[in-house]
Amino acid sequence: MKKLINDPAKTVDEGVAGFAAAHSDLVRVVIDPPFVVVRADAPVAGKVGLVSGGGSGHEPLHAGFVGHGMLDAAVPGAMFTSPTPDPILEATKQVDAGAGVLHIVKNYTGDVLNFETAADLALAEGIEVQSVIVDDDVAVKDSLYTAGRRGVAGTMLVEKLAGAAAERGDSLDRVAEIARTVNSQVRSMGLALAPCTVPHAGEPSFELGEDEVEIGIGIHGEPGRARIALEPADRLVDRLIEPILEDLPFAKDDRVVLLVNGMGGTPMSELYIVFRRAAEVLAERGIDLARSLVGSYVTSLEMQGVSITLLKVDDDLLDLYDAPVHTAALRWGR
């Protein structure tokens, strides 16, 4: 294992400390209980508070999305491990301005259980909390016999659009409804060329042969639909985008946001090769590419891989996408 770390046990602590130092204009960091990254001006009077969180290792998700127009707080857990209820409760209290708080939770057993517990505790303290579970990963076929579809890169779009709705003053019910609508209209699928190594584990999270690709990978290295031999990028893009298009399904004349997301160890140049083919497929199907986003936003440490996300939008959702945002990892219009 070769990493830019000092001590495997301190990777999250030192990373959060660095984030706080770099972005003190945007956030403040609560260290007890560890850790809560809070928007610098929270609680914002009259505004619904948005809290998300989950295991660390997916940066810039979620702390990188704390700021104007997106999240009010992020709760980073240990590496690939859900945070405990204490910091989630603390985050909820820090951002509650009396208009209620929305929890945005990726669909993993640990995240769901810890956020549920925190929401119960918050309700006991008189804070109105609603929760939205994000499960955009089409790679998981059979939700009946699994923990259900996973929350992956589509999560950042839920956070962006719900964040914009909260910023313009929508009620908790309305912000939650928008978050659920976005989740119901967003689909993602990813692949990995090489695994990642969790620092304290010291060994790769899974084995992948030199010429093998895992199609449908999860953001913690969970297996997907199939392990196949490496192919040209265009063919691999087709293997990701076709199941996405079929799933919603996306149809001719639909307007979409296309997110091509790097998993942490993939160069931008390759992400654009992926984007090129994905846009080509959309054009072939008569689907209107309304907005594009390319970058490493929902990562899996240094995993080499990519995910494709499509969100179907209407005028209102597109307005929310375009609304000003000012966070460490996403900034436009402001």
Binding site: S82, T84, P85, N114, H200, A201, P223
Partner: protein
């Protein structure tokens, strides 16, 4: 010994802390095969925190007081799925133990049953879903049939949990991250069932 008192409960938890520290790599290796490779580390972090808080207890705590301390500490330190699940188990066990100074065989069975029921309610797993329920459920059944000797109840629960953990190996998982593996989970033991077996084995071996 007639019943299990607070001092015994504390010795048991201290022995669990030591055993998890010894076997955390093994638990993590099981988790790496079908989960996300952190079960041993997460439990170790939680139980080390428990160890640091045991001295804050009264000189003669009840079993329920020790169990409650374990519950709140695990909930606030472990994270993942194991934190809320074990935390709930110990919390329900503490509530079942109540203020009793000692647990006899009947009381112990009530405590074990409450722990299992708490895990089932929180995680919504059923038997044969390849989860810790597959160790807890046979343990509770065996404990209930073991008679009125508290030692025999502990031994029955520990043995049944160990067999239950082994019996998860041929199963396909229906809960948690292992469920995404489908048939690829076959042949691997569930880490939560194994840590359950560990905790109950240490209980049977604690004098």
């Amino acid at each position: 010994m007639s019943g299990l008192d607070g001092a015994w409960t504390r010795r048991w938890i201290e022995a669990v802390v030591a055993e998890i520290a010894t076997r955390k790599s093994e638990l993590t290796a099981l988790d790496r095969a079908i989960g996300d490779g952190d079960h041993g580390e997460n439990l170790d972090r939680g139980f080390q925190a428990v160890l640091g808080k045991l001295d804050a207890l009264d000189d003669a705590p009840t079993p329920g007081a020790v169990l409650k301390l374990v519950a709140t500490t695990l909930i606030s330190t472990v994270g993942g799925a194991a934190g809320p699940l074990y935390g709930t188990a110990f919390l329900k066990a503490a509530m079942a133990a109540g203020d009793r100074p000692e647990l006899d065989a009947t009381g112990l069975v009530e405590v074990l049953t409450a722990a299992r029921d708490g895990i089932v309610a929180r995680g919504k797993a059923e038997p044969n879903d390849k989860t810790m329920v597959d160790a807890w459920s046979p343990a509770v059944e065996a404990a209930g049939a073991a008679g009125d000797d508290v030692r025999a109840v502990l031994e029955a629960a520990a043995s049944a949990a160990a067999e239950g953990a082994i019996a998860t190996e041929p199963l396909v998982a229906h809960k948690g991250r292992a469920s995404y593996l489908g048939e690829r989970a076959i042949g691997h033991r569930d880490p939560g069932a194994e840590s359950t077996a560990l905790i109950l084995r240490v209980a049977a071996d604690t004098r």
